[in-house]
Subunit: 281 residues, 2 copies
């Protein structure tokens, strides 16, 4: 094992690779697209919302956050190799004014939105790739939709055509949940604090719903970053994909790593484009 300080020094000394981002590749995520979930025990989970892909659901989610609807609710379902889910386990808490009760499915982004396409075939879509601002997409050549990768945030629902309001949300915590693609609405991605959900104790009860209230993880608050005082707002940046540097990173990732003999290739969920805390100004 190399000591971390030595490793950092070595990285700083190395010349940049064609696949390294330049500073301009890091773009700010608007504060109204960041949602801060504070769990008991001072655990914070940060969600990047996807209003361009799921405008109506994200509008609902913003109303729920502003109404402090999730405060006092919980993570009530953690199913091994499937999902962690939060909201109101009774599904009976009245929703705030202005919520669209049965929003339409939101799966129809323009297919041309994939700025960087993956080389290899995909078992579920003609093409997969990333949008310019780093979202993982699949497309059949006509429409495009966000994929249910590990750490993406989806809207739980009952039966079709109910697509859920956004009050009950989940994230895949194991092998990807892509069998939900174009079937459940994806509204975001967890960009920090994923382990506060992925490492929660699993429930052996049906569908991973905790059998007792004591097993649940309390949600202290859910706020949009834009609703927090300026000094308390988390600031994040995504790595833009519509440039030669990201393309080089992707081609590298599709090759077997140095000294490795594997077949190469990449599945859309294996390696989501980087998001980072904005450096101090």
């Amino acid at each position: 094992m190399i000591a971390p300080t030595l490793l950092a020094a070595a990285l700083q000394a190395a010349a940049p690779l064609p696949s390294d981002p330049i500073e301009a590749d890091w773009r700010p995520i608007p504060a109204e697209e960041l949602m801060v979930i504070t769990l008991a025990g001072d655990r914070q989970v940060i969600v990047r919302l996807a209003p361009r892909y799921a405008p109506e659901h994200v509008d609902n989610i913003r109303r729920l956050a502003r109404a402090r609807w999730w405060d006092g609710e919980s993570v009530y379902r953690v199913q091994e190799n499937w999902v962690a889910q939060w909201g109101d386990p009774t599904e009976k808490k009245p929703l705030p004014a202005g919520i669209v009760r049965v929003p339409a499915a939101e799966f129809d982004a323009p297919a041309c939105d994939a700025a960087q396409r993956l080389k290899g075939p995909d078992p579920r879509a003609a093409i997969t790739g990333y949008s310019a601002d780093g979202w993982p997409l699949a497309t059949d050549g006509k429409a495009a939709w966000l994929t249910h990768c590990y750490s993406m945030v989806g809207v739980a629902r009952d039966k079709s055509p109910d697509t859920g309001t956004g009050a009950e949300l989940f994230t895949p915590i194991g092998q990807s949940a892509r069998r939900l693609d174009r079937n459940y609405t994806v509204v975001g991605r967890i960009v920090e604090g994923m382990s506060h959900l992925s490492a929660l104790p699993r429930s052996g009860a049906e569908m991973g719903m905790y059998a007792t209230a004591g097993e649940r993880t309390p949600i202290l608050s859910v706020r949009l970053a834009s609703d927090l005082p300026e000094g308390d707002r988390p600031r994040f940046e995504y790595r833009a994909t519509d440039n030669a540097r990201f393309a080089a990173a992707l081609r590298r990732r599709e090759q077997p790593a140095e000294g490795m003999t594997g077949p190469g290739g990449l599945e859309i969920c294996e390696s989501l484009p980087p998001v980072r805390r904005a450096p101090a100004p």
Copy 2:
């Protein structure tokens, strides 16, 4: 939510589907292919070994278990969305007699071994499918190898061409680790108790190695089921795949579920063939 007892009654009353296994489809897993890892806190993890695919590594692993080499060691690495790893964190503990120090890579099962092939393309292999006895495989048409799905067990190693002895083992705990395919040797699959590894606290230290010994999860013992007294042996069965019932289950799985509008398709790691505790005789 339907109460579990009502649901069970409803399932019993329903006529069997063409995709339901018959009793003869359940085949016993030999006791010498089951390894019982007992962690502190009365947590058991059961591994099914794959001697047909990795004979030399599995031979090493059996020697290590018989020498009680892992007793008193630990799960010392848990990296978010990557792996949990166990063994000796110092890598200095002397190995028992008879261990092959640098076993050859074991990636070359006959390509014809995939009894059930998946329909869809795969980003990493010409063909993917399951062996008759339920192992997930990828093949380039010449050789076949086990895939690094969630819950599979791989052999940790340093640099190529060292392929590891089997003393340090890991399992993927997030999105699949298929970029290790045909590069690291796969020796088995966790068939019970996966959540005792997947829900462990993540380490934020380099490579997910716990920074302090106190964070590690102690391993009390590792035994082959065949070395336990007859009455203490866990008994497991796999679902055979080389029959029309499994084929029907697979085709069903590749379709969008009832009432669902998704694109269908299946990736080799999404849904490993079932393994169950043997019913009481």
